[in-house]
């Protein structure tokens, strides 16, 4: 057994989805599934990536898992490919159940699909794509961490991430409307308003755990005088953990429901809250699986939306936020759409003092929660948090320069950074851009 393999074995984490999943596997089943996926669902892209890599290791410096784990090669991006895809290709799919278990753990819990490594690769190899192929194989083999698989089940049964039932969703919106009317008596959260300009879409955790974000969004919409609506049907949730479990068919079903809800309501665009992975799903992966080259109804991310409202004077800041802040750049909207300057515009319009972390913008370090890793749940929490010591160091440096608050315009980043702040004793506040805007804006 190699040193890397020994290390990997020593960090094996018990998980019901992985452990019971592999119990059902046979070598023949594994070979059949792998070769079916490779033959029918991959092509030149995979071959080029696999054949082009010269094993130079430059990608290693890009990966927070590698940097945070004493430069352990098994955590390097190329090392993850070596432990998974290269072995599969070399053995023509003939690999053991134990190999599949380890491959599932590597692909789902040791890679955030953040695509930072693609920027450091001389050939631009997208290792996130290769990890998604491994996840797809593991999905087809029924070997997936329990917690994220539960989330995928919720998506299939309710078309949202959090098992929110149809009435609970509507009730949550009415509750937030009632709460907001304590502050702004004329405020509405208009349900099912056909022909509105905007469908405001959120992710499952918002009605479940972060309902104040819906309240705040309603206040912002109200102050800006916008013609907006929210649906009272499934299709309201823009999130998508099926994209990350490799259940592409469900990913497509979720995006179909989301965009067809927008079409039914005859809205001109979807404005989505501060989420990164959902943006990836509706702007890139889910829509394209269905054959929509671009979103059929335009999607405006919250950062773009806030930028637009502030630039056009549709909302006004009464008093800037006076605590010094630092800004986290979420991978899916920075490397995914280059929204980093817009987010800085919003921060500078609303906050007195922005203290940058370095590296930043498209070179940011991931929060280590994204790519579905945080959704793999408590069993993998310590590995996730300890695998992002570099982010803690970044935050610590920003703190020494005076930053008291971390702004993270993404739900998964929030979850990841919250754990990092707690684990490393950083004692910093964590906020969404919407929190800051709501606190500082003129409300009508």
């Amino acid at each position: 057994m190699t040193e890397s393999a020994l290390k990997a074995e020593s960090r094996k984490i018990s998980d019901e989805g992985l452990d019971k999943g592999v119990e059902k596997l046979t070598p023949a089943k594994i070979e059949q599934v792998i070769n079916s996926v490779l033959a029918n669902e991959t092509g030149a892209r995979l071959k080029v990536y696999a054949d082009t890599c010269v094993h130079c290791g430059l990608c290693s410096e890009a990966c927070h898992f590698f940097l945070s784990n004493d430069r352990d090669p098994s955590f390097s991006p190329a090392g993850k490919v070596k432990q998974t895809l290269w072995e599969i290709l070399k053995n023509k799919g003939s690999v053991s159940p134990a190999f599949i278990r380890r491959a599932a753990e590597v692909a789902s819990t040791e890679c955030n699909l953040c695509r930072r490594c693609a920027m450091y690769c001389p050939f631009g190899i997208d290792i996130a794509y290769l990890m998604l192929v491994i996840r797809r194989i593991c999905h087809k083999l029924g070997v997936m961490p329990q917690y994220i698989q539960t989330t995928a089940h919720s998506h299939s049964a309710t078309l949202n991430q959090m098992w929110v039932k149809e009435d609970e969703w509507i009730d949550s919106l009415m509750w937030q409307e009632d709460e907001a009317r304590e502050e702004i008596p004329t405020l509405r959260i208009p349900l099912e308003k056909e022909g509105a300009d905007i469908f405001y879409s959120v992710i499952g955790p918002e009605p479940k755990f972060r309902a104040q974000l819906i309240y705040q969004a309603a206040v912002i919409m109200n102050a800006a005088g916008l013609n907006w609506t929210m649906p009272a049907t499934p299709g309201w949730d823009n999130s998508d953990m099926c994209m990350y479990t490799g259940d592409n068919e469900m990913m497509g079903r979720l995006k179909k429901a989301h965009f067809e809800t927008a079409m039914r309501l005859k809205v001109k665009r979807i404005v989505m809250g501060e989420c990164g992975h959902a943006f990836r799903s509706i702007y890139d992966m889910g829509n394209r699986w269905l054959s929509w080259k671009m979103p059929p109804i335009p999607v405006t991310h919250a950062i773009e939306f806030y930028h637009e409202l502030l630039r056009e004077g549709k909302i006004k800041i009464a008093k800037k936020y006076d605590k010094a802040v630092t800004l986290h750049d979420p991978c899916n909207i920075v490397r995914g759409k280059g929204l980093h300057e817009m987010s800085r515009y919003v921060v500078n319009q609303t906050c007195e003092n922005l203290i940058e972390m370095h590296p930043n913008r498209e070179h940011n370090f991931c929060c280590s929660a994204g790519g579905g890793v945080i959704n793999c749940g408590p069993p993998f929490r310590n590995k996730r948090v300890e695998g992002n010591k570099v982010k803690a160091e970044q935050l610590f440096v920003a703190k020494t320069k005076g930053a008291k608050v971390v702004i993270a315009p993404c739900h998964n980043c929030h979850g990841g950074l919250e754990d990092i702040i707690h684990h490393y004793g950083l004692n910093m506040e964590l906020k969404f851009l919407g929190d800051i805007i709501y606190e500082c804006m003129e409300k009508k």
């Binding site: 009435d167 509507i170 208009p190 349900l191 179909k256 005859k266 059929p296």
Partner: protein, 421 residues
């Protein structure tokens, strides 16, 4: 409502209400809704502190409520709303509430002629449907995809039939969901049950189901097809012979299957929302013939013209000889009729409406914040602050336009002779 149900085709123009006056009567007036014959306009209004009502043609309902939402006219012109009084929810129809009370109620559905009104309801964390004030006898721990038969005589939904812990992934994968018809669940359970359709005689029910995490098919009256696919979309019954068709994904491409067997030879990158012509002889569907392009296919043959953004709202003419749809290209919306798109794009366009003889097509449209009706590609000269779907007269000579005009807030019902436009 059918165009033949509209009695008043002779009055050229008639003011029904001035919404502006309502704003002096109430704290606020929400977005208005118009009856299918255009004779009534109504809105949810705030009548007092934590108190809401409905105003119809300037007259408020006698009853007021804690909350009122989802105000909609039924196809037969009755005004419905979901209302809450002292924390109990029910349905109000023309101001009269159902006797049944619920902890919550939502998702109003109407039968084709409006005689059937169905809602999803919840009491004590148990879920069920209620049709015309009659709740299902059986209840379920969850329910979705409420569907009402076209004649309103039967209702169905996806229901949870087996209890499981959310983290029990293996129990979930054994199948904990089914479809319930009039409250009675099918014998067989599935991993998932999604959209469903009734047969024209409302005796049969077909639904898209997932047998495990990988195999999708269609179940008819609880029995899944033998054939399995990597995905399916909503099934439909043939009006001709009762067979069931559904889009299915085979080998990475989509085609239409009938009773589990491919019906169309052609394969598409995507295929969904198939529709039968009224006589059941033709089938049309929204398809993607190439990645990122969208059009309509009839009996497997796609129109030459296609759109880059999307195609939706596919409709057959009453005689089944023509097809229209909404399409979008480079952010501009239009209507395509028999594969020929109207020129000039709009900021939004609604589902097209055929005249009874199928010769004329009209649609509500929006451009630069103003609304109009487009007839055979030509917008009316009049612009409106708001307008509703047009209706052709039975002889196809006239068209009913309902809208709020110009700078005021007066709502008019107007019959125009097509020859004069």
């Amino acid at each position: 409502m059918n165009d033949s149900d509209i009695k008043d085709w002779d009055i050229a123009k008639k003011e029904i209400a001035d919404i502006g006056n309502w704003k002096g009567m109430f704290e606020w007036v929400e977005e208005p809704h118009v009856s299918p014959d255009g004779e009534k306009i109504a809105a949810v209004v705030k009548t007092g502190d934590m108190e809401f009502g409905v105003c119809e043609n300037g007259t408020p309902w006698e009853s007021v409520f804690d909350k009122v939402w989802y105000l909609r006219f039924s196809p037969d012109g009755r005004l419905t709303a979901l209302v809450s009084d002292a924390g109990e929810w029910t349905v109000a129809v023309d101001g009269q509430t159902w006797e049944s009370r619920f902890e919550f109620v939502w998702n109003t559905k109407f039968s084709r002629d409006g005689s059937g009104i169905a809602v999803a309801a919840q009491n004590g964390r148990q879920y069920f449907a209620a049709v015309n004030d009659s709740p299902w006898e059986q209840t379920f721990s969850d329910m979705s995809n409420l569907t009402l038969s076209p004649d309103g005589k039967s209702s169905a939904a996806s229901v949870q039939t087996v209890a499981f812990g959310e983290s029990d992934i293996f129990k979930f994968q054994e199948g904990c969901y089914s479809a319930a018809l009039d409250g009675k669940a099918w014998d067989m359970n599935f991993v998932n049950v999604w959209e469903m359709s009734f047969s024209p005689d409302h005796q049969h029910l077909a639904a898209e189901v997932r047998l495990n995490l990988y195999d999708y098919t269609v179940a008819v009256d609880g029995i899944p097809w033998e054939q399995k696919f990597s995905s399916v979309w909503k099934p439909e019954f043939s009006p001709q012979d009762g067979s069931v068709t559904a889009p299915a994904r085979i080998g990475g491409g989509w085609t239409l299957v009938r009773n589990g067997t491919p019906l169309w030879n052609s394969r598409f990158v995507q295929l969904w929302h198939h529709r039968y012509s009224p006589d059941g002889k033709k089938i049309a569907a929204v398809v993607s013939p190439h990645f990122g392009r969208w059009t309509v296919a009839i009996d497997g043959t796609a129109w030459t013209h296609n759109f880059g953004d999307l195609v939706t709202d596919l409709v057959f003419s009453p005689d089944g000889n023509r097809i229209a749809c909404v399409g979008k290209d480079d952010g501009k919306w239009t209507v395509s009729v028999d594969g020929q798109p109207w020129t000039g794009g709009f900021d939004m366009i609604w589902r097209p409406v055929f005249s009874p003889d199928g010769r004329r097509v009209a649609a509500k449209a929006e451009k630069n914040g103003r609304y109009t009706v487009v007839i055979d590609g030509q917008p009316l000269k009049e612009e409106f602050r708001a307008v509703w779907d047009p209706v052709f007269s039975p002889d196809g000579e006239k068209i009913l336009i309902c809208g709020i005009e110009g700078s005021g807030e007066k709502y008019f019902r107007q019959v125009m002779r097509l020859a004069d436009i």
